[in-house]
């Protein structure tokens, strides 16, 4: 299981966010992408998740004998990102039930409740998500990303808005994911870079490419 990024470039109109980026990620390691605001960390995660299209270059996922692009691999990708929002009128249990059915997963109510217990949302499982705090929404994003037990987990500023218990939870999720597949974290926090960065990609400001 590995990901190869080859000469990746992304521009928004004339603004070059990523240029000539090459990197290889393999199973069993945690990777960190870091850099100042606007350097393209979140863009890289969106490109890897197939939520955006690259301007140039290639991203190839290798799983066993198979190779695939990000859009084809979506079923094996878990993404935690501020881009992911949920239905405010629905409870977290209803949201997860919906997304599980949409993915074609046969998840019992008990297993979804266990997942919510795992992210410490069990007591709030019937409250509308619209009434949730930022930290609770971040926990729900973690549950959403883990719903289909993905081989590839991409975390964009995963500790944002979380209390100490929430941060411990993310640490545990990252540790579990490293043994199961690939985990890539986008962060600006030096302590997180040092803690999780078995391999670090430092993005330079704007269009300068990796440092």
């Amino acid at each position: 299981m590995r990901i190869e990024i080859k000469k990746l470039a992304k521009s928004y109109r004339r603004k070059k966010v990523l240029r000539d980026l090459s990197w290889q990620l393999e199973k069993g390691k945690s990777y960190v992408v870091t850099g100042p605001n606007g350097s393209g960390k979140s863009t890289l995660l969106r490109l890897l998740s197939g939520l955006e299209k690259m301007t140039a270059g290639e991203i190839v996922f290798y799983t066993g004998e198979m190779t695939a692009d990000p859009i084809t691999m979506r079923g094996s990708i878990g993404l935690v990102s501020p881009d992911i929002q949920f239905y405010g009128q629905l409870s977290p249990l209803e949201n997860l039930t919906f997304f599980a059915a949409l993915r074609g997963l046969n998840r019992s109510r008990d297993s979804l409740e266990n997942l919510l217990t795992g992210v410490q949302l069990a007591e709030d499982r019937h409250r509308p998500v619209g009434a949730f705090s930022s930290g609770m929404k971040q926990r729900l994003r973690l549950a959403f990303a883990l719903l289909h037990e993905p081989g590839f987990l991409f975390l964009d500023e995963p500790f944002t808005n979380l209390d100490r218990a929430g941060k411990e939870l993310v640490n545990q999720i990252i540790a579990n994911q490293v043994s199961r597949g690939i985990v890539l974290i986008a962060t600006n926090e030096p302590s997180e870079v040092e803690r999780f960065g078995q391999d670090i990609l430092q993005l330079a400001p704007r269009s300068m490419g990796p440092g």
Partner: protein, 228 residues
Amino acid sequence: MGRIFYNSLRGAWALVKKDLVDELRTRYAITTMGLFALTTLVMVSFSTGIFSLDAGLHAAFLWIIIFFSAMSALARSFIKEEEKGTAAALRLSAPPEIIFTGKLLYNVLLLLGLVVVVLPLYLFLMNLPPGANYALVILLLFSGTACLAGATTILAAMISRAGAKNSLLPVIAFPVLLPVLLTAIRGTSIALAGGKAGGVSAELTFLLSYLLIIVTASLLLFPFVWED
């Protein structure tokens, strides 16, 4: 193969159920469509109450009310996903074809609900000519609204990332739906005048063909609209 088809249907139905639950809790589309239909109906009723209208005028009024009521609500189907930021989670969770099928089925159900409310109200408020073939009227209304839903779903997806989204849909939809509206009005006029099924077979064939073509073309086009 059967398993993939079953999971796709299950996914599409999950989207329909989610949209129905969301709608029943917010009542945005129901309120918008219902109030628009009611006010238009009352205005038409008061302004034409003293006249005896022929079947053609009744059919035209009925379809104008349905068209604009539908436009006021159907534009929201994709716009709300983009505005609330839930589109990214949808993109990650299912292929575009499942998303389109789910949204299309939801829009069809919403419009059928509109017809179920508007037709009895119209019959109650307006003096319809005697001897109308109501079974045929209902068949034409259902076929026509399915066409409206089919075309509007793909157009709503296309405008969901544009500016001035809500006002854009009726403008873009009108030329696309004009053949449907003209055919549906003609067919409904014949049915309201007491015509038999044989008298509207050309109209029904056109509507069903349009539906088939628009849904097939939309399924082919939607992945590009949704992913870009």
